[in-house]
């Protein structure tokens, strides 16, 4: 049984990564969005380093949330349209593993690049260097939670393909991640202990990994009824 589990996970992880690499434009879009809106902030507010560094923790996290929200919409809808979702649901094994595989792939394609790109924005917003490491850690863990929760919303809104409805469903659920994610950066900037909010983020990840696949599984099975 163990073999079956890991097989489903790896197979879907590998395929979705391959698809992500082949569709380069889809991969790059959220990242460009992330950079672009970040570049708007100094223009709209003021290019003063002090003010920007005050805003940085919150702004980086808000844009990370928006970038994942943009991309999570298509997590299952492509599969629904070409029929591979049906084949996935027909798999005799536990569906949780393929689902987790797909979400992991989504994180590798979206969350990880965002994390790696975030120091650039840190520099733009004159974020103190001591806060860069905590910021990357918080984004790495936090975007994984965002992918998981976003996938629940994507599964439930499949028949009508997300859009504003997806944002309405998912944003309130994103709130804790947003709060603790920006708190990690803020604490690091203020020279406080930032491991506590990071630990809470990790706890949220643990809860999400355990519960979200169940909801996604149930949600995907409804898509055909739509």
């Amino acid at each position: 049984m163990y073999n079956y589990l890991s097989a489903g996970f790896m197979a879907y992880l590998r395929r979705d990564l391959l698809l992500g690499i082949r569709n380069k434009s889809d991969l790059v879009k959220p990242l460009i969005f992330f950079l672009l809106v970040s570049a708007l902030v100094p223009l709209a507010i003021a290019p003063e380093a002090e003010r920007l560094s005050q805003l940085a923790p919150g702004i980086i996290w808000i844009f990370a949330v928006l970038a994942t929200l943009l991309s999570v919409e298509r997590l299952f809808s492509d599969d629904l349209q070409d029929g591979s979702l049906e084949q996935m649901l027909m798999s005799p094994n536990l569906l949780i593993m393929p689902i987790l595989g797909k979400i992991t792939a989504h994180w590798v394609v979206i969350g990880l690049p965002l994390t790696l790109l975030s120091p650039v924005i840190g520099v733009w917003f004159s974020l103190p260097t001591i806060a860069v490491m905590p910021m990357m850690l918080s984004l790495a863990i936090g975007t994984a939670v965002l992918s998981l929760i976003g996938a629940v919303g994507a599964a439930l809104t499949l028949p009508r393909q997300g859009g504003v409805l997806l944002a309405l469903l998912v944003m309130p659920l994103y709130m804790p991640v947003l709060i603790f994610g920006s708190a990690v950066i803020q604490s690091a900037v203020d020279g406080l202990d930032w491991t506590a909010p990071l630990a809470i983020l990790a706890a949220l990840l643990a809860i999400a990994v355990a519960l979200c696949p169940l909801a996604i599984n149930a949600g995907l099975r409804l898509a055909k009824n739509g």
């Binding site: 629940v152 439930l156 809104t157 028949p159 009508r160 409805l165 309405l168 469903l169 944003m171 309130p172 659920l173 709130m175 804790p176 709060i179 603790f180 708190a183 809470i200 949220l204 809860i207 519960l211 979200c212 909801a215 149930a218 949600g219 409804l222 009824n225 739509g226």
Partner: protein
Amino acid sequence: MNLNVKWTWFHRLGSPRWFYQKTQRWLPWLSLLTLSLLITGLVWGLAFAPEDAKQGNSFRIIYVHVPASVVALAGYYMMAIAGAVGLIWRIKLSYMLMRSAAPIGAALTFIALVTGAIWGKPTWGAYWVWDARITSMLILLFLYLGVMALRHTYSSSEAADKASAILGLVGMVNVPIIYKSVDWWQTLHQPATIKFTGAPSMHPDMFMPLLVMIIGFYAFYAVTLMLFTRAEILRREYRASWVKQLVTNKTAEK
């Protein structure tokens, strides 16, 4: 499907017809109780309770704000549990209850938000302050709106019911997390401004009318939930023979 035999009592409870007929009998009494509780609470709270030492008379808003918030929050759990019961035992009635609970909860949350904002003006000097309780209420409103909006995603009502139930359950796990995180976030950013008076420190003269109002709001919730569910039953069960019978009897009376 093989449940029908063993669980007859349970299924009778889950029968829309049973609910429709019982509530017909309960509603007058329950409405009377609700009305008297609300009127007692209102008059007591508005005219007889003493004013708060710090906040003066504006504190009387507590008599709608707190009951509305309490019932709105409890209503979310009610809705989610009704959805879960529907998912597990496939009882249509509990889906109808879930569906009816959403607009009521949203309206109560709206009341809590508006009264909170009005209360904020004399207390903090601004209509909106990012106070922990008000922020959580705002998020709760979005959660309710999400459940209401999701329904239109599905053309089949069975799928819509199940999807709303799943979303409700996900929300139910999240509500305490959201509350705790917003609470924590507030202590981080705004140490000790005036908080809306907490119950334990309240004088009994102030607390008793609040208690009456809270009970009154629960009763009000029950009444509106029954009203909404009865309309929903008619909407969905229009094919059932007992509904047709009911309608023909009514027209005959006229």
